[in-house]
Symmetry: C2
């Protein structure tokens, strides 16, 4: 592989931007390398100086997409007006809403992310790791404020991610015969239960 100059980074970015637009509008499969190249005013062959192959372009866009989603969650972490329980609820509510509207609006992008997630497990694993670390932050803060009493924060964050898969995993979010409102109610109920537990006090 080649050593790419500084300017190459900008060209890579242009390719990603151009491909993003086409992937959203027409889908990954219906977009050709030739079309992407023409949008960048270059030959198709030249694309291969910047990306291994078409799939790698898809990976970049999927990553960008998941990164945006993470930003939505991160924004909740910065809010000052919430206690730990409220923050946990708001966190998953935002993630749920973002996931839902993304998949609803951009069906093609949903398919791309699903496809890439299938072929590149490391992509989704990285995304989950981000979500886990956000949850861990919320738990730590809950411990500090005396609201929570979580011994093993890392493990508990992983457990919470397991229990909330309905709210961030696109195939479940988009499951048939179920509206966003129902999911929002379920999200509130799940977090409430996780916070309070079943045990008599």
């Amino acid at each position: 592989m080649l050593f790419l100059m500084q300017v190459a980074v900008e060209i890579k970015q242009q390719i990603i931007d151009v491909a993003d637009i086409r992937f959203r509008r027409y889908g990954f499969g219906k977009t050709t390398m030739w079309e992407i190249a023409k949008d960048c005013r270059m030959s198709a062959a030249n694309l291969y100086r910047y990306f291994e192959n078409k799939e790698e372009i898809g990976v970049e866009i999927a990553l960008k997409c998941l990164h945006n989603k993470e930003e939505v969650g991160r924004a909740v972490l910065r809010r000052k007006d919430l206690n730990a329980e409220q923050r946990l609820k708001a966190f998953f509510l935002e993630i749920l809403r973002y996931t839902h509207q993304l998949c609803e609006k951009d069906l093609h992008l949903f398919e791309l992310v699903a496809f890439i997630s299938e072929e590149h497990p490391e992509v989704v694993q990285g995304h989950q790791a981000s979500l886990r670390s956000f949850i861990a932050e919320i738990l730590a803060e809950g411990n500090r404020s005396g609201e929570f009493e979580v011994i093993d924060i890392v493990t508990t964050a992983a457990t919470i991610l397991f229990a909330t898969v309905h709210f961030y995993y696109p195939p479940l979010v988009m499951m048939k015969n179920r509206g966003l409102a129902e999911l929002e109610d379920a999200e509130d109920a799940v977090i409430t239960l996780l916070v309070q537990g079943l045990t008599k006090r």
Copy 2:
């Protein structure tokens, strides 16, 4: 549609039985109506006196399969040696193990259930309703014993089902790069968390 006599019920059962064997061994798609008919010593056309179409035979078998799974859960409800938390854990552990081994051993059956679940949401909804009612029973018992303090049992059962989808939903159970042992650990952790909650006591 015809009014079927008593003997017809037995013929239907025979059709289901022979189709079950072939679907397991060769899959839904690779089994022909002619083969099913020959196994029953009848013509293919005659099958249509008992089922609308091939898919309806598949539905019956998927139902049987989910029913078996429910029986595994029901068996846990009858055990006398468990408190509510242990029962909840054992319930999902059995469901998880059954789902996993079924999908692992009988790939064809897994595909059939997945396909039917896609086309006939009412099938999976019925299954979930069964699971929910089992969970509700466990919660009620936990309330009786003073172990739990659950106000709205029905809603809480639904919430628990949401949070445990990883352990009964075949596509999640069978997700790549994850062993049964990991899932069993996660199951224990999720139930423990649901029982105890995050809140400081």
